[in-house]
Every structure is written in C-alpha cells, then in structure tokens.
C-alpha cells in the first residue's frame, strides 16, 4: 500500500481468527464483524474461520508465526492457555488497557474475578479476555426417562445415573449414558473434580489420587457393563439424538444441534456429582488474545475486542453459538434472560458456571500432558487397570514439568 497513503493509512485492516463453523455460530461471527465494520469507518476487520477447532487454529497460528504473518486478534482455547502464553508473542489485556485506555476500568467492570481466573497462565498472568464460556451439562431424553419411570432429580448424582442406566439397559437394551470423548479430557476432568479430586496441585499433576481413581473406576465400570456407550464424540452424540442413549454428558455448546435434530423431548440438567461431593467442572470455551505486533494494529484490535464485549454483541454471539456470555452485564441483560427462558436447556449451564474452575493447563509441554491424559482415558476404557494407568500418566506428566 505505498501508492495511496492518504486513504490507506486512515483505515486499519485487522484479521480475526476464529473456530466457528457454520453449524457453530459462523453466521453470528459474520454478522458481528459486518456490524462492526459498518459502524467503524477507520477499522476493517476480516474474519477467518479455522477448521478443526482450537487445535486447528493453534496449528495455523503455528505455521503463521513460522512464516511471519500472524493475525491481529485470535481465539485461544483454554487448554492452550499456557502453550500459547509461552510460545507466541501477544499483548496482555492489561497492557492494552493501560496503553490505549489509560486505566483498567474496562476489565474490572466487565469480568468477575472468577471469570478472569480462567484466562490466567500458570504464572498468574492474564493472557487474554474470556470470550466464550461453557460447562458440561447432562442432556436427557425425557421420553425414555419417563417411560422407565426415572425421576430427573435422581440424576443429580453419578450414583443415581448409574441406577437409572441400569434400569434402562435392563428393560430396553439401550445405553443409559454417553460421556463425550473428544481430543481432550475436559468432561472426564469434570467427573474427577466432582469426586473431590484435584487435577493438579502446586504445578504438578495430582489426579491419580484415590478420588481420581474412584471417579474413573465408576466410568470404567459403566462402560464395561454396557451401561455407558464408549465411542467417538460424533457417533455418541448421533446415538443420543437418535434415541439410542438416554443421557449425554457433554458441553452446553451442543444445545442447538440437539434442539434441531432430536425428535424426542430433550432437556438439560446441571452436571452431576458423586454422593458426598459437590459439582465442580472445568470451564470450556475460549479467550480473545491480541497477537498484533504493530502498535496501531494493536490499538484497532483492542477497539474491536472491546466492542465485541458490549452486551448486545455478546448476546448475539451467545445466541449464535450456544456459549454463555463472558461479561457480567451481558449475563444479566434482559435480552439474555429472555433467551434463556426460550431455551431452558441453557439454564443449568448458567447455574453451573458458579461452580466452574479453570481448565487445567500444564505450564510445560502442556499439549503432551493433555495427550497423556487422553491416552490414559482410552486405555482405561479399553479395560486397563485404573490406578496404575492414571499413576503412569501422572508420573509422565510430572517428569516433564521439571
């Protein structure tokens, strides 16, 4: 752009990387970006969709960094929090607020302490601003449940779920439960946490405790006795939607898909816990991080970011994706409240948010650590001994944390 300096320098072009496919809020992103561009003549945002979720985005970011053409603002999945922080150049929201606003007001007024804690790295530094929030919930097929006389409130505990599953399985041959099995152990961590286990303690993996082992033993037994279905995520959800599985423990982000495809009476309830423990789940979703290098670009990115957190923008986003809005204002806005009323399945997630903790992300070789936990899950579900498997995984992770 050397030719026409006057107009070119007036308009800042920034790119925004996201993971939202058409089935998952892609349209909402397009909508928001268009609105922003229409109202901000001096900034032009281009949104780029990255397939294969946060992992795919991280791959692309990796290659982009290697080639020197990074985006200006990007979504970062929680699981990549530490990895992102230690490998990429970014501007913290705190720095941005200080540099462009001169104060921290924006951050303080919009986010609760708890919410902000999700976006901190292992050293306690705020890497980005929380953008989408999710929690696991228990989706239920009310038709099946009522057919076998199962009460919803009996499903508040994992023990209750087991009993219900047994009933269903014995009488119909169908599976009682499906727990999501993606390329992470987010949901499984939620089960362990709700059994009083810790995933990490003092920067070290600690999930191989008795509580952790107990939770996994429960899970393993459900699978081996055919009460729970063990299959990749997409197939598991298909089975739930088709009515072959009565309950699905998965992210709230599946809401709109379930609503559109299920021909039974579907509903959602809060994530269960084990008897004698309370529900604790890792939060899902992503934050927005500024990766722009040039100060002008950073400024434009910050401006766009702040606009995205405006209540109606956040609610639009929420409606499009099924995620919960990240800011206090939006969460309490009447627009969102009306929305939840129309979509009662969202309600349990909103409630669970109060019991959410940051998603464990190990500071060193975090990706390998996550992989070790996935490997452990897969091994246990194929029947290997819970205690030793978890122990090995824990040792492996800790060996790399030194």
């Amino acid at each position: 752009g050397c030719g026409k300096k006057t107009s070119a320098s007036a308009v800042k072009h920034i790119t925004y990387w996201h993971v939202n496919a058409q089935t998952q809020g892609g349209a909402a992103v397009d909508d928001l970006v268009k609105k922003f561009n229409d109202t901000h003549k001096n900034i032009k945002v281009t949104a780029k969709y990255n397939p294969d979720m946060y992992k795919g985005l991280m791959q692309n970011l990796q290659s982009a960094q290697a080639s020197g053409k990074v985006p200006d603002i990007t979504q970062v999945g929680w699981a990549y929090d530490n990895y992102f922080a230690s490998n990429f150049k970014y501007m913290t929201p705190t720095d941005a607020a200080k540099k462009f606003d001169g104060n921290n007001k924006f951050i303080d007024t919009n986010f609760t302490k708890r919410t902000l804690s999700f976006a901190k790295d292992s050293k306690g530094k705020l890497v980005g601003l929380p953008y989408s929030l999710s929690t696991p919930v228990l989706f239920i097929n009310k038709d099946i449940l009522s057919k076998y006389g199962i009460k919803e409130d009996s499903l508040a505990t994992w023990e209750g779920i087991k009993e219900a599953s047994k009933k269903i399985h014995d009488q119909s041959g169908k599976y009682g439960l499906y727990i999501q099995e993606p390329g992470d152990t987010w949901a499984q961590q939620g089960i362990m946490l709700s059994h009083g286990a810790d995933i990490q303690k003092g920067g070290k993996a600690a999930f191989a405790s008795d509580n952790g082992v107990g939770a996994y033993k429960y899970y393993q037994e459900m699978v081996t006795s055919k009460l729970a279905l063990h299959t990749p995520w997409a197939q598991g959800m298909d089975s739930f939607v088709k009515g072959d599985v009565a309950m699905a423990f998965t992210t709230i982000a599946q809401t709109s898909h379930i609503k559109k495809s299920a021909s039974f009476n579907a509903s959602a309830i809060e994530a269960p816990h084990f008897e004698g423990h309370k529900t604790v789940v890792p939060v899902g979703g992503s934050m927005l991080a500024i990766t722009a290098q040039d100060s002008e670009q950073q400024k434009a990115a910050w401006e766009f970011e702040k606009w995205m957190y405006k209540a109606d923008a956040a609610v639009t986003w929420s409606k499009g994706t099924g995620y919960l809005p990240p800011t206090k204002v939006a969460l309490e806005s009447s627009a969102f409240k009306d929305y939840v009323k129309e979509n009662p399945m969202l309600d349990p997630a909103v409630k669970t948010l109060d019991n959410a903790v940051p998603w464990t992300s190990f500071p060193k070789k975090g990706l390998q650590a996550e992989q070790a936990m996935i490997d452990a899950r897969d091994k246990i579900l194929s029947g290997s001994d819970v205690k030793s498997t978890l122990g090995t995984a824990q040792d492996k992770i800790n060996a790399e944390q030194k």
């Binding site: 496919a21 998952q24 281009t46 780029k48 969709y49 290659s63 997409a234 088709k242 992210t251 599946q254």
Partner: protein, 272 residues
C-alpha cells in the same frame, strides 16, 4: 451347469455394485431431508418429506458459485500443469539420449513415494514466503508436476514408433512442431484420461488446501465442507451431504463425457 455358474458371478458383482452405490444413494437422499428427518428416518432412501431446504440454506451460508469457481480454477491449474510438465518431461526422455537419463528418471519416479507429511511443513513455509497464502495459486504451485503423469506419458510415447518421429525429421519438421503436431495428438486419449483423473483428484483435495487456504473467500468446495462437520457444534449431516452432492456434480459430468477414454486408457496408456 455353465449358465448357472455365470449367474453366480453376476450375483457377486451385483453385491459389489450395491456396496459402492448404496453410500452414494444414502448421501443424496439425506441431502433432501431435514436434520430431524435424517435422524428419524435414516433408513428411508426416498425422503418422506423431500425438501430443498438444505440446498437453499447452503446457498445462503456459503458462496457456492465462488467456491465452485475456486475449486475449478485450482483443479484446472493443477491439471494443466501436471499435463504440461508430464508431457515435456516424457518427451525429453523419449526422444533424447543423454547422460544420467536413467538416474534422472528414477529420481522423478521416486517422487511418487514421498509421503506428503514429509514435505508439508517446508512447503507451507515456501508458499507463505512467496506470499501465496490464501491463494489457490499457492495450493496449485507445488503440485504442478506429478511422477504418475510422467510415467504414463512416457510409456504411451514409447509405443509411438520411432519411424514416425524419423519421418518428421526427414521432412525437417522442427522439434517443437513434432511435439505439438504429432506427439500430443497421438497421446490425446491418455491426455484426456490422465487429465480427467488429475482434475477429479485435485477437485477433491483436502489436506494440503486446508493448510494454505484460511480465508473463506479463497476456499475450495471440500474446505467448505468443514463448515458442517464440527465436533463441538455437531455435524449437520444433511447440509454436508447437500454440499457433497453439489461437489460431485462436475466430476460426474467429466466422467460421463470422457468415460470411454478414462476406462480404456488409464492403464491402456501404459503402466505396464
């Protein structure tokens, strides 16, 4: 006795045809169902309530024309490139004697054996240095030559009698003209069939374009498919199937037009 045996073989072949065609019918039929129906009436090959909804929605959500155009352009570039380099290389091998010919030929052939994972990262870096990210040229560039093409063309050319080239040499026809006026027309059947295969493969390409094309406006059809396969948001199967159906239209047309060539000269042209 003899007749009975024949029927049994036909039965086996029929089973294979059913096996290969059923998934396609399944795909097409589901593209005319709503999401809910596709879950509810999966086994019905003929939709109970056929709907164009998916196609209309697709048309609204993505720029079908643009996607098709991108895919077409990319596949055309790749095809033309592979054909040209293949023909030129094969012609050089066919018509000239020079030192190290066998070695060069072997190096060329061995490229078939390079797993794509080995070159993925470095090639990505080269393309981005060339400022060709988000550009279908960047997708096409590293694929402009292909050892399979070289092999097939060489083997077809070996079947052209020497005397034909000699006859032209006696008449003092320049090399360039021998190539374009005599060799290329003779190779037409293999050019068409190999070209069609190149085009179809390139049209369906997935992994490499995923790395290079990030911008929706530069997407090819298979990449757009990713919009509808999401683990998080759930896969919208009917929409994906509608897009798949649209995706196969052009390859199918090409196949139907050049079917004779393709079926008779994939290997007729060589490979032996």
């Amino acid at each position: 006795m003899l007749k009975k045996k024949l029927n049994l073989w036909h039965l086996l072949l029929l089973v294979i045809i059913l096996g290969s065609i059923f998934p396609i019918l399944f795909m097409v039929s589901n593209s005319f169902k709503t999401l809910r129906d596709s879950y509810g009436t999966m086994l019905n090959l003929i939709p109970l309530r056929p709907t164009f909804e998916n196609y209309l929605l697709l048309n609204k959500q993505v720029n079908l024309l643009g996607l098709t155009w991108n895919t077409f352009l990319m596949a055309t570039m790749v095809t033309v490139g592979k054909l040209l380099t293949g023909l030129l290389t094969a012609y050089a091998f066919r018509s000239y004697q020079f030192k190290g010919k066998m070695l060069i030929y072997l190096i060329f052939v061995s490229t078939i054996f390079v797993p794509f994972t080995i070159v993925m990262i470095p090639n990505y870096l080269v393309i981005s240095k060339l400022n060709l990210l988000n550009n279908i040229v960047g997708v096409a560039l590293p694929q402009l030559c292909d050892a399979t093409g070289i092999m097939i063309f060489l083997k077809t050319m070996e079947k052209i009698p020497n005397s034909l080239i000699d006859a032209a040499k006696i008449d003092n026809i320049p090399n360039r003209k021998i190539f374009f006026n005599i060799v290329v027309p003779i190779l037409k059947p293999s050019i068409v069939s190999v070209g069609a295969i190149f085009f179809i493969n390139s049209w369906n390409e997935y992994v490499w374009p995923t790395l290079i094309l990030k911008d929706k406006s530069s997407f090819t059809l298979p990449l757009a498919l990713q919009n509808y396969i999401s683990s998080e948001g759930g896969t919208n199967f009917p929409l994906a199937m509608a897009l798949s159906t649209i995706m196969v239209i052009l390859p199918l047309i090409i196949y139907l037009i050049f079917q004779k060539y393709i079926l008779n000269s994939i290997s007729n042209s060589g490979l032996k």
